[in-house]
Symmetry: C2
Subunit: 742 residues, 2 copies
């Protein structure tokens, strides 16, 4: 049995348990957690030691003397309707006063702005004044009955991840202030502190940064029933500070304004297409984070330690898929994963070691406050449910390590969980071994996902699956993460400036004007290029409101390719072609075997979408929902447009997407709950049961077939010489081979 490549969270006071489980799970490393320290017994047990450091917190003594070097952000007051020509706007109303404090130094005040949101115009400075005592801005000489807001700078008094853990676990320790490393005194302090830390932790072999400097934006409200006012895993709002703003101005010769961030109160969530200013700000922050990050990593290296980074929490500014990431010099990356796409997201980063943190975390309470390691919890089942999704992605692209986080003692009452993790660890190592031997077989299909972020932010929208489940694209990514195809992520600039002929399929899935559909990214140049590409044989798959843009004849810029358009109301007086399901033989003429497509028809998770209509009678209708168009195919030149009103991660829809992407495939199972991965050089065939029940299947691998029965969630590994049943196939398949490793 293989061992190692497993990081266990050590727990002081539970040394025996730590060591017993370390052995059971085959751990080779032990780590501390947020709020814990490893005891000597554990440190001395011969495991390599991970230590977590969150650079910007835990310096309260220093911070108290340097309030100008606390982290900051812009906030917008609640809108207030003026009942006369004067109005008083309370700034902090609705915000969590333990997280934010008004930053009203004379210098900070220079950045404040006041807006008439009815007119969408700024109120000149002479019309408003700040009353520090009351925490309000008074505006005068204004239009009554308009709505007014104030953009103000706030100091962040409580590092957000620590705040979350503190509040959730009812800690009573001192609140940790996040310090702003853009402030030169803070940067200098931190470099000294890092050196000191390394010196004081000789046992630590790996410093795990959690992560560098800037938390994703997490703005809390005063109201506990609506605590999270704004949560965006990819947002740069918490990188704002006076030093950053001034540094930007010094560098570019012009100022960002508060409104460039506040954006009418909407902020710039990752779900919006980033504008040029946002991209520039991100680049500016990324350059700084890279530079100071490299200095910290250099210190770690100078002590002979490795530096890993956590691809969560304070990851903002690091951009692991950005061009500067390797300059920081991290030796590894650790990502907390629930799903297949996150596994790919970790695996694809250019670094030596990729480690995934499995779920559930060893906490009493899990997602959405549901019990995990307490009465009513079923952590083993939960772990397996995540694992089947992670496993199918791991079969496509391996990672180097796995691990857990949290409090080990909580597993004591759940021996089935302890067994389950042992099993998962073993499966992981078998898969890792296979990847060491050779690349898995990849079908000759290269899919590009087209969205506003492109290659900078592949394999994610903004956070975990359960945080972004309302977006079709996350379901698409999750489906793609386990498919035997090459997947790339491209943006609209890539479409215009790079060749598209490498791609067989391009997918665009989102809502009008969001970052995933693309909004203004849909220029004529993009449409022109994609249209020609489809005409010459490409398949364009559009989901929900693909290529949507306003002000044109068609709402979907690619309507002519999709054979489907959507009417936001302009065509209400126009007749529409009544959509009728096309016959199977019509679809077969398009080279598509649609036995799987029928499975999505009338499924409850197909979206009933208003306003969809066929642009011509030749478009083939795949599915209706309550009589309304839900899925269609349109031949266009040598290529094809595919429209789906929604995409939902399920065995049926994975198979549907697979069918639409690959007209024929090398590896195939006749049971949608079973998937297979083929490692041609080692001749290993992995077969996985993604369901919680016994499943039978025939697996076709090239011209061979294999019959198998798998237990719930089972992974079967066989070599192709065993148990082969010869079968006839009408069509020859491409030779088995390794196309390319990403």
């Amino acid at each position: 049995m293989l061992k190692g490549d497993f990081t266990i969270p050590g727990e002081s006071g539970y040394e025996e348990l730590t060591l017993r489980l370390a052995k059971k799970w085959g751990a080779d490393s032990v780590r501390d957690s947020d709020g814990t320290e490893l005891s000597k017994d554990i440190l001395d047990a011969g495991y390599s030691v991970y230590s977590t450091v969150c650079v910007i917190r835990g310096h309260n003594d220093w911070a108290k003397n340097h309030p100008e070097a606390w982290q900051q952000t812009f906030l917008m007051s609640e809108p207030v309707v003026a009942e006369g020509t004067e109005v008083e706007v309370p700034l902090m109303e609705g915000y969590f006063s333990e997280q934010f404090r008004i930053y009203d130094s004379p210098e900070a005040l220079e950045w404040w702005q006041v807006f008439d949101r009815t007119d969408n115009c700024e109120i000149p400075a002479e019309k408003w004044s700040y009353r520090a005592g009351k925490g309000v801005v008074c505006i005068h000489g204004i239009d009554p009955w308009h709505t007014y807001t104030v953009n103000f700078l706030a100091l962040r008094m409580w590092e957000e991840i620590s705040m979350y853990n503190h509040v959730t676990n009812h800690w009573d320790s001192e609140h940790l202030v996040p310090i702003e490393p853009m402030h030169s005194s803070a940067a200098e302090y931190l470099l000294g502190w890092m050196d000191e830390w390394c010196r004081l932790h000789p046992v630590t072999s790996i410093v795990r940064f959690t992560s560098l400097f800037y938390n994703f934006a997490w703005i809390w409200g005063a109201d506990e029933s609506n605590r999270y006012r704004f949560t965006d895993w990819g947002s740069y709002d918490f990188t704002v500070s006076l030093p950053a703003l001034k540094g930007f101005e010094a560098k570019y010769g012009w100022r960002m304004t508060s409104e460039d961030f506040i954006n009418q109160g909407k902020l710039h969530s990752t779900h919006m297409p980033p504008d040029e200013k946002k991209r520039l700000w991100m680049d500016y922050i990324n350059e700084f984070v890279t530079s100071l990050g490299r200095q910290l990593v250099n210190i770690v290296h100078s002590y002979g330690k490795k530096a890993y980074v956590f691809y969560d929490d304070s990851w903002i500014g690091i951009e692991p898929y950005g061009t500067r990431f390797t300059q920081i010099g991290f030796d590894g990356i650790i990502k907390c994963v629930f799903s297949g796409y996150e596994t790919r997201m970790c695996a694809g980063v250019c670094t030596n070691i990729h480690e995934i943190r499995l779920h559930p975390y060893l906490f009493p309470v899990g997602l959405g406050g549901k019990p995990t390691f307490m009465e009513g919890g079923a952590p083993a089942e939960e772990a397996l449910r995540y694992w089947v999704n992670i496993r199918r992605a791991l079969l496509r692209q391996g990672v180097d390590r796995i691990g857990l986080g949290g409090y080990l003692h909580l597993t004591e009452d759940f021996p089935d969980f302890q067994d389950c993790i042992e099993k998962i660890g073993n499966e992981f190592r078998i898969i890792k071994q296979a990847h060491k031997e050779c690349c898995p077989f990849t079908e000759n299909n290269h899919v590009a996902v087209l969205h506003s972020w492109g290659a900078l932010r592949p394999w994610t929208l903004s956070g975990h699956f359960h945080e972004t489940f309302m977006h079709d694209l996350i379901h698409v990514m999750e489906a793609l993460s386990g498919m035997a195809i090459k997947v790339s992520f491209i943006d609209f600039q890539d479409v215009v400036s790079k060749p598209l002929d490498r791609y067989h399929v391009i997918i665009n899935a989102g809502c009008a004007n969001d970052a995933w559909s693309g909004g203004k990214g849909w220029t004529s140049e993009v449409i022109e290029k994609l249209t020609g590409w489809v005409y010459n044989g490409g398949t364009f798959i559009g989901i929900n409101e693909p290529s949507a843009r306003s002000g044109y004849s068609h709402y979907f810029g690619m309507a002519h390719v999709l054979g489907v358009d959507m009417d936001p109301g302009d065509y209400v007086s126009h007749g529409k072609i009544a959509p009728k399901i096309s016959e199977e033989k019509e679809l077969e003429t398009m080279g598509i075997n649609l036995q799987w497509c029928w499975q999505m028809t009338d499924k409850s998770h197909v979206r009933e979408k208003e306003g969809l209509f066929l642009t011509n009678k030749k478009t083939k209708v795949l599915a209706l929902k309550n009589g309304k168009l839900a899925a269609a195919l349109n031949s266009f030149g040598d290529g094809m447009g595919v429209y789906l009103s929604s995409f939902f991660y399920s065995p049926e829809q994975i198979r549907l997407l697979q069918t639409l992407i690959m007209k024929q495939s090398m590896i195939w199972t006749d049971n949608i709950n079973i998937e297979a991965a083929w490692f041609p050089e080692s001749r290993k065939l992995f077969v996985v049961n993604n369901s919680g029940s016994i499943q039978k299947t025939v697996i076709r691998c090239g011209d061979k077939s294999l019959r198998l029965t798998l237990k719930p969630y089972e992974m079967d590994l066989t070599t192709i010489e065993n148990n082969i049943v010869e079968e006839n196939h009408e069509k020859p398949f491409a030779a088995v081979g390794c196309l390319e490793c990403e």
Copy 2:
């Protein structure tokens, strides 16, 4: 028993039937129909005679010699994707070739335009040429893979209403060409013809114009399965012609272009807010129609005949609610009605005689091709179903006459229909009599419906209920048409320029950017004025996407009043207040008895709408649909905002709306299927059962109460002295009185 005020369609060959039914139904007038002529027996029977004339058709001999004076329109070709730098665009593809012919005279060609719809820009004339022989436009030197369309002028060869009847009834007579009265030779010809017609029809006492010159836009396609490519009862597209375009240019000094009408192929449906150019064109056409219409009416009057106009078919340019309508000099107006709002629409026109044409028409086939006067039809039931809606409107505002249309002999197999019409006729006359005696009681509630068309187009969207049922506002109008309140229609200019204090309630109901929500009509000035008005006690009721506008902090311009906003995607990362149904006692504090509101909760016709959220915790939630916000109330100053995600014409929702409009009312029934109207001076109380089953109710009228049981669809007329049961009421009611007749 009252008699008269009834127009029967005479039918040649069925003289006896005509006369028998005329007697049974109490008819005093007999009319001919499209395609029929009255025989001498009928003409001699002593009834006054209506003759229908459709001015612009039936002149084929003249038309053949004046092809330049045929009616025209702009059409847009089907979009074509260019596969290279040249493309050929077939113009007539998809259009019904019996309706349209390419108008390619050198003068006509000057108005054609060619567009790149991908770029949304015009292709200069030197890059395209028309090939008459092939009916195509060739475009060269263009961007490949863009989509191209051609706007061209077409001659209309077949008057559309005649075309419809012809095709539906399989006539084989000659197609009637519509002639263009803007052409001076046509106008001259028509005036002569009118005179001649009057001279040749001495028996006719009333000339019923069907209607004047321009049909509503009805563009037919070649494909029978999608025949009606564009249907808009209120559109001016069929007023376009070379003479009209040139006349406009001569008058204003600048040209309208084809694109001003084609609008990217969307055309300017009535459901879009009209822009300034459209308003100007409408005004220009209206001025012409008024002028020539007056000359025709003068001729009719000079023969001692009356002139009525049909408020359907070729009504475009007449605008019965426009400022010029009375100048034409019509003696009466006739409107074909299915519903209450159409009844009010007819009743409110400033003219002497208002006649409503009841449904079903005496045709074998009715709406949507369903059987009426043939096997499988149930015309009596159909007539009653329409009648109950018409009746509740008639109780609010009377009309002068009723009538039927079609082929009388078809009723022979349906004696129950003959009886039903007799009963309807009698009820109509009893209601008319009551209106003669005094005005019905109106509660002290003045409601304004706010939309882009305002007072110019009250009591309609664009056509019949079954054509516009997808719009909430038609349901609202239908509900309002039978309520004991004053109703006005206002536009956005009215909000800014006129006092609002006369209104108690303002309703805005529509989808973002449509004419009913208002789109760009929602300026800051409008929001400012309405906000102040609500603050001072007004109630703003917003339905579906009220006050929606793009580019601002809030999507609903009135979000601060409604307490509800909608997120088109910008706030996906923001926390939302979880909506929970408010308790009844919370609502009572707002002065609203919401026993009826609960009836709408979880009803299937409440719309589940994505993206709605509460803007504050004070907003009271009235209804959820599948957990999503569906209805809410928000106190604002002394007034209130009400949000409904949808409105559906039903007894429950009529009562809901009534409750939201009137905090207390003089007349009230405890059964939602029963409504009552009170004529205070005559002391007549009408009680109607709108349902097809027996209903019991207590009717409260001021401080009196009455118990009644009504048969299906029954109308009960009593005077308030009879059968009174005294009951106690906690609150005194306003004195019974007649507020105002519209």
